[in-house]
């Protein structure tokens, strides 16, 4: 490896030996592409003419305080995921791979991978927990419509972490022709770095838009954190702006004091999962815990290693929002601004609303990572007036 793959004491490349050459090849392709103007031109072309970048910065008109939304919900595919699947898709082409595999929880990353698979002509296979396949039938059909094959994963708890396990197992046998298009800024080196670099366009645009539209940087930038790709994408270009507070919002689920949450940075301990040293929700023996969140995208027992480092170094602060708080923010955004956001993004907004009350003068930038179409059915159940 040419890069260290470390963020402070976190990160690294904890994978079976057989996968190390594939990760080295990926790192090499990424570093070459980074220095190749033709790669940047092709990616930027796709981001603008296919995916719809730049996404707008929207100032909320009716919610309290000064809240600015970075509208990744308006990106093709409906979430920030599209940014990095285009980047990794082009890298896979460069490496001569013909097949993409990916894991997905609720299906957003699976849909994004199916998009790039269709666009760039890959055979695409998506691993999805059998439990999630059942819960997210519409997204399964979207993936199939775009030519991807969806494989239900029956092992373990049959959710996202099991889908990652299964994708890694597939990759151990298939890496010669297959690229594992990991969906977040987690996993073994070089994924956390690659995904951050392809997602940092979120913060880069938002920073320029704040200066242009508001005439100043935000006081706070807030994003939800599951694996952490949208948050690291929003934060990356603000890390050197010491006056901009960075806040990541984890899923507090049914409460941080119980076990039904996905708050890895708030309640986890140091460990090694899915290739990286990071914070992990686990028992005393190191067995990985089951997690819970109303939003499948935040329902993950580890977190990107750079967030673990940003937490320990104090540069970013991590807080939680419960299912109920996220749902209230989801509803408030719909009612006040006419925007239906993803449950994941609603966690970030929930904290922004608290902050807007505590410090009404602050300019608060919120990463609105995705739109809520996928969650409307669930919202209908949860918000039913009689319930």
């Amino acid at each position: 490896m040419r890069l260290t793959g470390r963020f402070g004491r976190f990160g690294g490349c904890y994978v079976p030996e057989i996968l190390v050459p594939a990760l080295e090849q990926l790192e090499g392709a990424f570093l070459e592409a980074r220095d190749d103007p033709a790669f940047a031109a092709e990616l930027n072309g796709l981001l603008s003419s296919y995916a719809g970048r730049p996404t707008p910065l929207t100032q909320c008109r009716n919610l309290p305080g000064n809240i600015y939304l970075k509208r990744e919900d308006l990106l093709h595919g409906g979430a920030h995921k599209t940014n990095q699947v285009l980047g990794q898709g082009l890298l896979a082409k460069r490496m001569g791979k013909t097949r993409l595999i990916a894991e997905t929880g609720a299906g957003q990353h699976g849909v994004a991978t199916a998009i790039v698979g269709a666009l760039l002509g890959f055979e695409t296979v998506i691993y999805m927990g059998a439990e999630d396949v059942e819960r997210q039938k519409l997204n399964v059909f979207r993936m199939q419509l775009m030519g991807a094959k969806v494989i239900p994963v029956e092992s373990g708890g049959r959710t996202l972490k099991d889908a990652i396990n299964e994708a890694l197992r597939d990759w151990s046998a298939s890496f010669e022709k297959t690229h594992y298009l990991l969906g977040t800024a987690a996993g073994p080196h070089p994924f956390p770095t690659i995904v951050r670099e392809f997602q940092r366009i979120i913060g880069r645009e938002a920073r320029a838009q704040m200066i242009e539209q508001v005439g100043r940087l935000p006081d706070v930038a807030i994003a939800c954190v599951g694996g952490g790709s949208n948050a690291i994408g929003l934060f990356a270009d603000f890390i050197d702006d010491q006056d901009v507070r960075l806040i990541g919002v984890e899923a507090a689920g049914r409460g941080l004091d119980g076990e039904e949450h996905g708050a890895t940075l708030l309640r986890g301990t140091s460990g090694i999962l899915h290739g990286a040293e990071t914070y992990v929700l686990q028992d005393g023996d190191g067995q990985i815990a089951d997690t819970w969140s109303v939003s499948a995208g935040l329902d993950y027992p580890a977190v990107g290693p750079e967030h673990a480092h940003l937490k320990d170094s104090g540069r970013a602060q991590y807080v939680g929002a419960t299912d109920a708080e996220a749902l209230a923010a989801f509803k408030a955004l719909a009612e006040s601004e006419g925007i239906i956001c993803a449950f994941e993004s609603a966690h970030a907004l929930a904290h922004a609303l608290k902050l807007a009350e505590a410090e009404p003068g602050s300019a608060i930038l919120v990463g609105l990572s995705g739109r809520g179409d996928k969650d409307v059915g669930q919202a209908q159940q949860l918000l039913r007036p009689s319930a």
Binding site: C13, P16, E17, I18, R169, S172, S174, H274, D285, Q287
Partner: protein
């Protein structure tokens, strides 16, 4: 002399047969019985897993074994107790532990506890040579021999690193994939050649060994021994006699080709 070195000495031109079992599968009492059963069948070395919730290097058979053990409430403490008792019954046989990094880092003193339980070697499936140094150091300090994996796609520079960091044996994987998938009986002789040329510990082939023919083919490809996991674990899960299975697999190790050249 370490138990592994003594074993290779004793075997001379014969291949070593390693039997893998998941500790605590299907429960602690039955697991203790299975450990004795593979020894009775003639296993030269015993390799054991500590069940982990997310075993990414394992195929369906070993995954299911880990899940059965975890569902039976087996804890890491219990695994060490099992090993301690096994060691008391079988003082000479080499015992290797195969597990995952998170269980190791979650337990301060893991290496010491393993050594106290009579473990001879430790292979951490998700710690490649690239990340192995601090782990290997801790193992060596505790008196445990580090074992690393060399795969067919592992470059010579990495095998040289494996030679520096590891002892006991080199766990060779001559095909792609996870545990329990069949190699079609083909084993890569160039891998054992590269391991031996680098001065790494003796090559033991694992992954995809389930019949006496596989055992013979691996030894023919230059292995000093083999480890059979999924076939034994699956047989145990079906309630079959693992002593008989081990006996038939072990019988194929007596004809190691090229032994005269050692």
């Amino acid at each position: 002399m370490s138990r592994y070195a003594a074993m290779f000495d004793r075997l001379g031109g014969e291949g070593a047969f390693g039997a893998f079992l998941m500790l605590g599968d299907p429960d602690l009492a039955a697991s203790a019985g299975l450990l004795d059963a593979v020894v009775a069948g003639g296993a030269d070395m015993v390799e054991v897993g500590i069940p982990f919730s997310d075993p990414v290097a394992d195929g369906p058979v070993i995954q299911a074994a880990a899940q059965r053990a975890l569902a039976a409430g087996v804890r890491v403490d219990d695994c060490f107790t099992l090993l301690h008792e096994f060691r008391a019954r079988h003082p000479a046989i080499p015992v290797g532990l195969l597990t995952y990094a998170n269980l190791v880092v979650a337990r301060p003193g893991f290496m010491r506890d393993a050594a106290d339980a009579g473990v001879d070697s430790l292979l951490i499936a998700d710690v490649p040579a690239l990340e192995a140094e601090p782990f290997a150091r801790a193992m060596t300090q505790a008196g445990i021999e580090p074992v690393l994996i060399a795969a067919a796609n592992t470059p010579n520079a990495t095998i040289a690193r494996i030679a520096q960091l590891s002892k006991a044996y080199t766990y060779c994987v001559s095909r792609t994939g996870i545990t329990g998938t069949h190699a079609g009986g083909e084993f890569d002789a160039s891998l054992s050649d590269r391991v031996i040329a680098a001065g790494a510990p003796p090559p033991i082939f694992g992954f995809g060994i389930s019949t006496p023919e596989h055992v013979r083919a691996a030894l023919k490809a230059g292995a000093r021994g083999v480890i059979c996991g999924s076939a034994i674990v699956a047989a145990a899960a079906r309630g079959e006699d693992v002593t008989e299975l081990v006996r038939s697999l072990k019988s194929a190790t007596t004809e190691r080709v090229g032994a005269a050249m050692d």
